[in-house]
């Protein structure tokens, strides 16, 4: 069967299998699966509001997916997108609350730039340690995640805290907020999605059309051959981590500038980890990542509607887990499909 066709088919069939399994679970808890999936679809695409919501959820997932996927292409496993996202958004929020004097044309790019640089720098720590001392990036990025979480928690309950309510940073200046594309009720869909798509295109061009991408891929595939070819392995590991971190930082920026407009205690909500599965469902391909993020985003959005008919929020985690499992062990799906074909 056609390779590209399979690459698309496997995730689709995986989703179908996952839905089949969750159907059984839904029946077991005494709910009607048709109602449940009806709610799921209604909740994710059923109205303008639902669509806006899905897009809002998809945006940061595309970016963390790109971040992790980019790392994979370069042979580094960036589990730290979570921390990079938090740090990027946190520092950007600190600056952007004072950007009132700047016009949007400057304030927006500047805020994005800060978040991306901070994300890049934070990731580069792990890249640098890997390149210089061989410290495993999985270990260092996990540690950096915790450090970021605690640091952020400290910042919003301490130095940055405003008001007596939620631990939160001051609101960023209006001029640093992303323009709103669509407003349905209280739901504001910002231009973040455009940024995310631009980032995907950027990643595609970087990886496929530039010498930097060439070098990063070479290092990822075969560091020995890369070094032999005059490509600095340590420089490219740091660079790859930094770019990956910049994308994660950008995810923080879109959340900050397009959704919350300030830094809140638990801003990332595990999106950095979601990035891992999204990158892999999307086969580390920028286009694939957009679709994978959209899939997860829609599932998440729809799951809230599912709660109305009594299916708990955990259902969507189970569905997501099964989908990822099947995409990872894609041969299960392939084998099932080949058997089906043979039977026919």
């Amino acid at each position: 069967m056609n390779k590209k066709f399979m690459a698309i088919l496997v995730p689709v069939v995986s989703v179908l299998i996952a839905l089949a399994i969750s159907t059984i679970i839904i029946i077991l808890i005494g709910k009607n699966p048709i109602d449940a999936y009806g709610a799921l679809i209604k909740g994710s695409f059923g109205s303008k509001q639902a669509i806006a919501d899905t897009v809002i959820k998809t945006t940061p997932l595309i970016l963390t997916g790109l971040a992790v996927g980019f790392g994979f292409r370069a042979g580094v496993f960036n589990i730290g997108a979570e921390g990079q996202m938090v740090m990027g958004a946190l520092i950007a929020a600190t600056f952007a609350s004072n950007f009132g004097f700047l016009p949007p044309l400057i304030a927006i790019p500047l805020t994005i730039l800060i978040a991306m640089s901070v994300g890049a720098g934070y990731a580069a720590i792990a890249g640098f340690l890997k390149a210089k001392t061989g410290a495993h990036e999985v270990v260092t990025t996990i540690m950096l995640n915790w450090i970021a979480t605690y640091f952020a928690s400290y910042m919003v309950t301490g130095p940055l805290k405003v008001g007596s309510g939620t631990p939160k940073s001051p609101e960023i200046a209006d001029s640093a907020q992303l323009p709103i594309l669509m407003k349905v009720g209280a739901i504001e869909m910002s231009a973040g999605i455009i940024i995310a798509i631009i980032a995907a295109i950027f990643m595609y061009i970087l990886l496929n059309k530039t010498t930097t991408g060439y070098e990063i891929k070479a290092v990822g595939f075969n560091p020995y051959a890369a070094e032999y070819g005059g490509i600095s392995v340590s420089k490219n590991i740091v660079l790859a981590m930094a770019i990956s971190g910049a994308l994660a930082g950008l995810a923080g920026a879109t959340e900050l500038m397009g959704v919350h407009h300030r830094f809140l205690g638990e801003l990332s909500g595990g999106k950095g980890f979601d990035g891992i599965s999204i990158a892999l469902i999307g086969q580390n391909n920028p286009i694939g990542i957009i679709f994978a993020a959209f899939l997860i985003g829609a599932l998440r959005t729809g799951s809230n509607e599912m709660q109305f008919i009594g299916v708990p929020k955990h259902m969507v985690m189970i569905i997501q887990g099964i989908v990822i499992f099947l995409v990872a062990a894609d041969r299960i799906v392939r084998t099932i499909m080949i058997r089906k074909r043979v039977e026919k």
Partner: protein, 319 residues
């Protein structure tokens, strides 16, 4: 100077050592699980999920039967079940092991959260269901200092150290251990000698389920006697780090876990010190100590560890 005094007081306090032990125990179990899986060549980042499921099942069965040890046993069984899924996906179907691991974490989080309401009738957390009694060793408790540390400890702590000793023996002194190590380094070579590569890898992964399941049981019925959603709190990932830091060796993993336990006990103790006066909002920063310390150790003192050569690479026969 006050800080130095406070640090000094921490180190001469026997309870600091006791807390170190109890904080390290789940990490020892879980990192041991990592060792078993990874020396046979299967990356297992699902430890976090296995722990969580183990914590859940042990509480569930303790609640159902009233016997904590049945709970602990069932935690092991549930650990085996989840680990089997990992083995099945990564060994039989040659799936991407890291992704399978993240999938299983999600599934474990989803399933435990999902089942709370139908089983216990309320979401989020259970009531106290019972706990493994602490072990009192007569006489030991009377010895100064030592008695304060070891006089009264959860049997899990001793089990953890026994597990390390057992694992060291198994991995370095038995035929099975030799085969495990060979399969993780060069599965093809092992295969040509008639060793069942898949079988050994299944064993390694399943054992990681046993240990991580115990780690989970310790967290719930071993320590606090109830289950709370997401109560594993990222310890599976820390255990992963401890395993790498400990160079994929049971003893090394134990030492790394102890280092981690000590630094978090230290962080707690410093937070609680009456000698240090800081405002309440600064206190969260103390919790960064273990993580910063780990990075320094990983980068500065350990550097490259010997990763089993075939770790993470599915083994596939060519024909």
């Amino acid at each position: 100077m006050r800080i130095l005094e406070a640090i000094f007081l921490v180190f001469i306090n026997p309870l600091f050592y006791k807390i170190t032990l109890t904080a390290a125990t789940p990490l020892i179990f879980a990192s041991l699980g990592g060792v078993y899986s990874e020396i046979t060549g299967v990356v297992n980042i699902a430890l976090e999920g296995i722990m969580l499921l183990g914590a859940f099942t042990s509480v569930l069965f303790t609640w159902l039967t009233g016997n904590v040890w049945i709970g602990v046993f069932m935690a092991v069984i549930s650990g085996l079940a989840l680990a089997w899924l990992h083995a099945w996906g990564s060994i039989k179907w040659a799936g991407n092991q890291v992704v399978l691991g993240t999938a299983l974490i999600l599934i474990a989080q989803g399933v435990t959260g999902f089942l709370m309401e139908p089983i216990f009738g309320k979401p989020g957390q259970t009531d106290f269901v019972g706990k493994v009694e602490e072990l009192r060793i007569p006489g030991l408790a009377d010895i100064p200092f030592i008695g304060k540390v070891f006089g009264e400890l959860s049997p899990f702590v001793y089990m953890a150290f026994a597990a390390v000793a057992f694992s060291w023996w198994l991995i370095y002194k038995t035929r099975l251990g030799l085969r495990m190590r060979s399969v993780g380094e060069n599965p093809e070579a092992a295969d040509t000698l008639g060793i069942n590569v898949y079988g050994i890898r299944y064993f390694g992964v399943l054992m990681s389920g046993v240990w991580a399941g115990l780690a989970g049981a310790y967290l719930s019925v071993g320590e606090v006697g109830h289950f709370r959603e997401l109560m594993s709190g990222g310890r599976g990932f820390i255990a992963l780090a401890a395993m790498i830091l400990g160079n994929y060796n049971p003893v090394g993993a134990m030492l790394a876990s102890l280092l981690f336990g000590a630094s978090s006990a230290f962080a707690n103790q410093m937070q609680s010190s009456s000698l240090i006066h800081v405002s309440a909002t600064v206190k969260p920063l103390f919790d960064m100590i273990p993580f910063v310390l780990t990075i320094i150790v990983v980068a500065g003192f350990v550097g490259k560890s010997h990763v089993p050569k075939a770790d993470g690479v599915p083994y596939e026969k060519e024909a």
